[in-house]
Subunit: 120 residues, 2 copies
DNA sequence: CGCTTGACCTGAAGTGACTTCACGTCGGTA
DNA sequence: TACCGACGTGAAGTCACTTCAGGTCAAGCG
């Protein structure tokens, strides 16, 4: 699969994918005879996961750790499972942030509506 | 109110608060005779809102715009209301991201559990 | 009383995660 | 033949802070 296709499917940009490869967030991608990257299904799945983790606020350092575990092979699966579980808990905190912000926005919007009513 | 107190209450760091003042995300803060910042209730409320908006992913440029409107006074309330409403819609998208990530994590965790079972 | 400690101040430089730039290669297509 | 768009590279730029270097001042203490 070509890099542009992977970008479309994962949500990462082409340059970010190259950056991820260079910085070790994913394994070196296989190259075709023309020197261009050819992504496997595994590569795609991995990048899709990375996108989702980044999008939901996994710290970069943690992503690096997690990637290092992935690159070490299946022996690290228990540890990886723990990391993902930890992120899952963080998602709950994120959820709470969203809820708090929603409540604050609801309050502010009501206040604004009130003020606009008085001015009208 | 002192800057350290505002930091504690809003969740922003002391340096971030100073940075926000310098970059126009909040109005110039009043100073005491000793030259130190003295925050009003309004300042605190405003910074609390900024923290919540930042935490939930409002783009920085948009925060700048929003702050500029705030600094222009109450005539901009309808516009500010629209901006907050837009952010509220973004929160729904954020919510969807969290849900998608949760689903992906649930899948991965189940897969890992399965693999660990096979190895055991 | 001098001395340290801690909270505050400032402008400037550093950081991290990308993004953009400048430039080059290659396989089509008009 | 000339140009296009997708791909490649290394280096420099950006953004939102954070850290650094250096200073003021009030309070506590041996």
């Amino acid at each position: 699969m070509k890099i542009s296709e992977v970008a479309d499917r994962t949500g990462l940009s082409v340059t970010t994918i190259r950056y991820y490869e260079k910085s070790g967030l994913c394994a070196a991608i296989a190259r075709g005879p023309d020197g261009k990257r050819r992504f496997s299904k595994n590569d795609l799945d991995w990048l899709t996961l990375l996108f989702s983790l980044r999008e939901t606020g996994m710290p970069a350092a943690e992503m690096q750790d997690f990637a290092a575990l992935y690159l070490k092979g299946s022996a690290t699966i228990p540890e990886r499972k723990a990391r993902l579980a930890a992120h899952d808990r963080r998602l709950d905190e994120r959820q709470a942030q969203l809820d708090r912000c929603k409540a604050l926005l609801a309050y502010k919007l009501a206040r604004y509506a009130e003020i606009m009513g008085e001015l009208a």
